[in-house]
């Protein structure tokens, strides 16, 4: 299984089973110290192995991050350039 924070990238690569969490990169399992959130996400992604029967399925994690993180994306992409 794959835990993804980049939906369009995952749709291109198409792993067998993925869970997309709409979180900033660096927080796929959520916020530091929030063990309950980490457990919920880990349980969901492990559960893909039981649920998924169609190859390439991408499930959507339903809980929102709760705040805008567009500025984080911009900083991240700045570092990700090819040079």
């Amino acid at each position: 299984m794959l835990l993804s924070t980049g939906l369009d990238l995952t749709q291109q690569v198409l792993p067998p089973r993925s869970l997309f969490v709409n979180h900033p990169m660096g927080n796929p399992f959520g916020r530091p110290g929030d063990g309950d959130q980490q457990r919920r996400i880990l349980r969901a992604v492990l559960g893909l192995a039981e649920r998924v029967t169609v190859p390439g399925t991408i499930e959507m994690w339903p809980e929102p991050w709760g705040e805008d993180f567009d500025d984080v994306i911009d900083r991240t992409l700045g570092a990700m350039g090819p040079s």
Binding site: G6, Q12, L14, M25, G26, P32, Q38, R39, P55, M80
Partner: protein, 159 residues
């Protein structure tokens, strides 16, 4: 978030030719061979994670095929994180944000999964442009290691 579009825009601004993305139109699917509660689980993080006693990752790594073994019982406060491609503050504060080793151990104790594979993994971090090497050498070698440990489920976590 539209990473593909925004990366293409940034690459173009820097004068680079269009990036050749990997686009797969189909995926394999290996059915689970036993209930999750009996499965041995391994995780791979590509988030520049290493044990404190191990060398740190090059945060700007390119084509680095180093692969670290992380012992299943590694304490959560015995990790370092070096990766310039994402904001590592959360992972530094709590490694479970990118590599939930404590949560996985809890699930094994509670019987949600069968066991935590003795060898967990950190690798494939940074910028890797050698797609063919990944497909033909590095990924099959990693899969073989999982096979040696009789892993039933592998969870891949890009940061």
């Amino acid at each position: 978030m539209k990473y593909v579009e925004r990366l293409a825009h940034r690459y173009g601004q820097q004068g680079f030719p269009p990036y050749q993305w990997t686009i797969n139109t189909e995926a394999p699917l290996t059915p689970l061979r036993r209930p999750l509660a009996e499965c041995r689980v391994a995780m791979l993080t590509s988030g520049g994670v290493s044990r404190c006693a191990a060398p740190s990752w090059d945060p700007d790594a390119r084509n680095d095929f180093r692969l670290d073994v992380i012992d299943a019982d590694a304490p959560a406060d015995d990790f370092q994180v070096h990766d310039s491609y994402y904001e590592t503050d959360s992972a530094v504060e709590d490694i479970n944000c990118v590599f939930p080793i404590e949560r996985l151990r809890e699930f094994a104790t509670e019987g949600v999964i069968g066991s935590v594979a003795e060898r967990q993994w950190s690798g494939f971090m940074g910028r890797i442009y050698k797609r063919q090497h990944v497909l033909e050498v590095a990924a099959p070698a990693f899969a073989a290691e999982l096979g040696r440990d009789e892993v039933d489920l592998a969870l891949l976590v890009p940061a």
